[in-house]
């Protein structure tokens, strides 16, 4: 034990010696306004405590009402033809445990049914839909692998659950990311990166194994497309979120990262895999680069047989030198699948958060395309609030709580 203690001391010292005082950023002065405001409030409290309390209550109410807190959502009673009839919201509490699935009518947002997905080990479950509003898949993750449940919704909105496949893999210890369900509801596509040994013959000791995997829920067969890169190699290209353009065409994001300390991808592109063709190389198609004008693109999803890409572009408002404190901007855009350029900007959602630190949290977790119907006419999007798009018209939808703090439940939606 003493030897281990000593080794640990030396190792922790070695790690932390990488940081030297001369390299650190200087400390910013806190906002003076806060101190002065607090003093004013204190002085005011002495002279007119009751009045200040009342004013504070009014101010707080106003702030909360303009923040991304749950609000009553009014949904029109009529909807265009072809709209997927139901959407599903899967929610897991912050303390993990079972996943609550609620089915809602897409027209009026009313709940039509619900059920609980067993998830004994309490790890995250992912949700995906075919886009028809009737067929979904829920993944319940555990340390030994995942269980994939087929979730079907009847014509009157009642859900039914069936265990479709189990997926046990020692190379998949943290199965907690987005997935995509093929339009015919038979195949689930996943992507991830594993740090492990390189293929035989590689001079490098460790390699990143970038994988796209497709699991057939009918035959239970899996098929994997890989790319191995030495773990020290930069720039690094990582396959990301996948979506199905058709039953045999799989599209996925292709993030370029320039350095180990980069805050996020330097650029994003889209690639395609033809699942009907032989081979297991993820880089068979040419990448379609998303222009830098689409800042921080997230959750690119293909639709209309791969002819269009719907995505979100989310960031704190302002620039790096003049951040609008507490304000986030979410944009929903349509991109051309031919060259990646923006075709339409459907919505710009600017939201004020009472607590400024939550802007980045919301940008990371509450700004994405959740589902697109196969025609590409309808999209279910999260832009600091859940809503659906049709023909450029945004309609807020109820039943979804944003993840903004550690105690909030984690939710996903799909149709």
């Amino acid at each position: 034990v003493i030897e281990m203690e000593q080794r640990l001391r030396e190792e922790l010292r070695r790690i932390t010696d990488q940081v030297q005082s001369g390299e650190l950023r200087p400390l910013r002065a806190p906002e003076r306004g806060r101190v002065r405001r607090r003093r004013l409030l204190l002085a005011g409290a002495i002279t007119a405590g009751t009045a200040i309390a009342a004013t504070a209550a009014v101010v707080a109410t106003l702030l909360v009402s303009t923040a991304a807190s749950p609000r009553p959502v009014t949904v029109p009673a009529t909807a265009p033809a072809g709209l997927p009839p139901f959407y599903v919201v899967a929610t897991q509490s912050a303390s993990a445990g079972p996943v609550q699935v609620v089915v809602r009518d897409t027209v009026n947002g009313q709940e039509t049914g619900s059920l609980t997905v067993p998830n004994a080990e309490g790890r995250w479950a992912a949700l995906a839909g075919t886009g028809d509003g009737r067929h979904f898949v829920v993944e319940a993750a555990s340390t030994s692998g995942s269980r994939f449940y087929a979730l079907s919704v009847s014509a009157d909105g009642r859900p039914a659950l069936r265990l479709a496949a189990t997926y046990s893999s020692t190379t998949n210890p943290l199965p907690n990311g987005p997935m995509a369900l093929s339009p015919d509801g038979t195949e689930v596509a996943l992507s991830w990166t594993i740090l492990g040994p390189c293929p035989a013959g590689s001079p490098s000791l460790g390699c990143n194994d970038f994988q796209i995997e497709v699991l057939n829920l009918v035959t239970k067969a899996t098929r994997t497309w890989n790319e191995y890169l030495p773990s020290v190699a930069f720039p690094r290209y990582t396959p990301g979120v996948v979506s199905w353009a058709s039953n045999t065409s799989l599209m996925f994001t292709w993030d370029r990262t320039n350095s180990q300390t980069a805050d996020g991808p330097a650029s994003v592109a889209i690639r395609t895999i033809n699942t009907a063709a032989p081979g297991n190389d993820v880089t068979t198609s040419a990448p379609i680069s998303i222009p830098a004008t689409v800042a921080n693109p997230t959750r690119m999803t293909v639709a209309d047989q791969g002819r269009e890409i719907i995505g979100t572009s989310c960031a704190p408002a302002g620039s790096s030198t003049a951040v609008l404190r507490g304000t986030g901007v979410a944009r929903v855009v349509e991109l051309s699948a031919a060259d990646g350029w923006a075709v339409h900007q459907y919505r710009t959602q600017t939201t004020y958060f009472r607590w400024p630190a939550r802007v980045q949290v919301a940008t990371d977790t509450s700004c994405m395309v959740e589902s697109v119907d196969p025609s590409g006419q309808y999209a279910l999007v999260l832009a600091f609030g859940l809503g659906r798009f049709y023909d450029g018209i945004y309609t807020p939808m109820p039943g979804f709580q944003l993840y903004l703090t550690n105690g909030d439940p984690m939710a996903q939606a799909a149709w």
Binding site: T16, V19, L24, N176, W192, S231, M410
Partner: protein
Amino acid sequence: VNTDVIGSPGTPPDRLPDGDPPDVAELFRQHHLELVRLALLMVGDRATAEDVVQDTFEQLHRRWHSLRRQTSGLDYARSAVLNRCRSVLRRRGVARRHASRLVAPDWPAADAAVAVEQRSELTGAFGALPRRQREVLALRYFLDLSVADTAATLRISEGTVRSTASRGLAALARILPSVQHQGRAES
């Protein structure tokens, strides 16, 4: 956002903003580096570690006058840094669920593919420990805090500190031989 610089490590500011307690600047001057290093052990990358400590000092500055004992500012700062690191790790977990399936431990989650060649086996094993064990081991063996001080910082009992440290060291001892056997660090 006010970005006036009030100080940097080793170079205390000549003049603080009006009304600022001088002890905050002194605390910063003396312990900024140590706190960034502590945060680095928790979150795994320097930029995030610096952000965590920056936010902590901003919070400390605002609450300085309301601290019950201002002499305990360092304890407060250490606890706040660890709390913020927990938030960062949890947020990364949530963001990952929405981004891509990066199969890697939370530490150092900012770069799931930290080069295995650049990491020692012990570093990898430390990063694979549960968060609480990492916190206890970092306070005990990086900051060299006593059991009592570690317990006070983490607001847990001294018995819990001892048992957690013991389990952490045992886990490291268990992991290391297998890593050596495989000839590579597991991520």
